[in-house]
Symmetry: C2
Subunit: 382 residues, 2 copies
């Protein structure tokens, strides 16, 4: 069991781990080469800046990937902890270095919590940063059972969801899900450089979302990307050839050559559809409307202007916000009454149905709208 | 003045325009080839599905870019309105077609509100969708003063911020700020296709944000992208050569060849920094901490673990959430007392300072922390 913890590096991730552990009664010792970062973390209640009197149960190394093996070697030489883990977002390179030169590589297991924020530094830390988030462990061929178990306990303390994979599989995957997307966003963002101020007027929320990751600190990201360079080069190479194909289609479309145009339009639509399909195959970050564990409440409404707005307002008052409205359906054809469908957790659905009925709304009983009947959907979530 | 409005196309944008206009007392007529979309919009209180008895003051064509000229020609032939505008996100191609074949091109001015949502359809509509958002108008060489003025009035009704530019300048810019970023996001998203389910475990918020635009409806986006193909091809071609350069650097870094490595690392950092700089040069979507119109409140805190957490909790109770904390400063050196700085609107800052002082906190008077003194910043927003 973890009774004492050391956190080396009191930035966003390290301080968040410390805050979570302190809340669970663990004694946490904070270390950082930047004295003001340690001080801020201590003032936040993340632990003490005093060094431990004896080795702690686990030390978390919250340092850039290129520093993991050096910091581990240094702290093992000093006897900081009995077990060690890290939180760097690249795993294979640091593991190789740990196996090559750390005094006791068996006492170390690599880790990577899938959590972060736009802001960095200890002030951005939150004890619930890892709640419900995947936290990958990448044991090496030497990792001891004890080091692995301590890391699992840490994940449990932080409310994370453990996943185990080989360091090489981890790095191959994050090259696709994190590092290459970051670089592509940097390329897109950099294209704004040197443009007239009018350009900023045409920057909408879509562009801001798409390039948010590219705001990350350039030196830290150079370290991350360099440490995973081979895997990232593979992904970028595939993206380069995808882009070349897309560019051919775009040139055909722009040349307005009727021979290639239809095929190029199909290629363009196919690419867009592949993107949509890949994104839709991802699990929802939170249960969306009509997910497996949602129940539906159908309400028939009168054909009066504003009637739908009135229903949505009433339902919102009973906790069914606009995002719970899946779609209006017209189960008896375009001229039949219109049915509005809400999707909520079963308990909430029961309450909503009861409240709406009591307020005089025409709530349809579940078996009145058979699933076999294809409803006319409008305004389904995009 | 606009007393009567027609909206052709009651999707997200059209219905939002209609809702905003109805709230300002305008009589709105709703038209759509999809009867259930019109019906939903009417039930939301966005206007009436009855056709107008005489030409309305302004008609808004909320249809895909390739349909603008056809729908305009058809409605002008029917005499739907005295003036027309559209909301399509591509402007030069539709303008060319309008000039070539609409019965009265002078009565039309192109428009593009920079607003949208992840969801589409009338149910996602909101009357405040355009509040504070840029709304571009692209008058052609024939656009009449009356058509232009009606469109300006519509923007004012919707709470938008008008901007005027040539259709070609608009399209060149949105190729950079919207269309090429969309396609790059599609390429990145499509790379997930066919991967093992484990991959989804390593998809974090950064990936979701970066690819959100690629969830857009593939057929509508094919239309948009095809209509602006030449400009987009130019941007993609530049991105292709940026990517080729980046790939060279990544291969050098992965080959671990010491000769090229230092230069390649510098090139990588320089790209990341160009991205960061371009994004930081954008105006903040909402005033951030310490923006021009914010005032600061500095509080000196005692050197006790948890003291900072206690202050942040107290301040949050007075409306100063965690995002108003700019940075702790140590104005008298690393061993002097630590000062926590909040950035808020001036009126809120005055209230916060008063409340904190009354609660016993040591609020520093504005002139006690001179700006000339370089504060030790930690944890500044990333």
């Amino acid at each position: 069991m973890i009774r004492t913890l050391a956190v080396v590096g009191t930035g966003l991730i390290g301080t968040s781990v410390a805050l979570a552990a302190v809340r669970r009664g663990v004694t946490v010792h904070l270390l950082d080469t930047d004295a003001s970062a340690v001080r801020t973390a201590e003032l936040l209640g993340a632990g003490t800046a005093r060094p431990p009197g004896e080795p702690v149960d686990l030390a978390v190394l919250a340092v850039p990937p290129s520093k993991v093996a050096d910091v581990l070697s240094e702290q093992q030489a000093r006897g900081l902890a009995r077990s060690y883990t890290d939180v760097a977002s690249v795993k294979a390179g640091p593991e190789r270095e740990v196996l090559a030169r750390a005094p006791r590589p068996a006492h170390f297991v690599g880790g990577h919590p899938m959590a972060g924020r736009e802001r960095s530094g200890p002030l951005a830390a939150r004890p619930d940063l890892f709640q419900g988030r995947t936290w990958v462990l990448t044991p090496s061929r030497l990792t001891s059972k004890r080091a692995f178990d301590r890391a699992l306990e840490l994940i449990a303390l932080c409310g994370g969801v453990p996943a185990v994979m080989q360091s090489s599989a981890h790095d191959e995957t994050v090259a696709i899900t994190s590092h290459a997307p970051h670089l592509m966003a940097s390329l897109v963002a950099a294209r704004l450089g040197g443009r007239s101020p009018v350009t900023a007027l045409l920057v909408g929320q879509g562009f801001r979302d798409a390039t948010r990751i590219a705001r990350g600190e350039a030196r830290l990201w150079t370290d991350i990307i360099e440490t995973n360079a081979a895997e990232i080069a593979g992904v970028l190479s595939a993206l380069e050839s995808d882009l070349t194909q897309l560019l051919t289609a775009m040139r055909d479309l722009s040349a307005r050559d009727p021979r290639n145009r239809a095929q190029s339009r199909r290629n363009l639509t196919a690419l867009l559809e592949r993107g949509v399909a890949a994104l839709e195959s991802l699990p929802a970050p939170a249960p969306g409307p009509l997910a497996a564990d949602t129940a539906r409440v159908d309400v028939t409404i009168a054909e009066r202007p504003g009637e739908l707005a009135r229903l949505l307002d009433t339902a919102a008052g009973y906790g069914a916000g606009p995002d719970t409205v899946a779609a209006p359906v017209a189960p008896h054809g375009p001229d039949g009454p219109l049915v509005i469908r809400f999707g909520l957790a079963p308990a909430e659905a029961a309450t909503l149905a009861e409240k709406l009925a009591a307020a005089g709304w025409d709530v349809v009983r579940e078996d009145d709208v058979p699933d076999g009947r294809a409803p006319a959907l409008v305004g389904a979530p995009g």
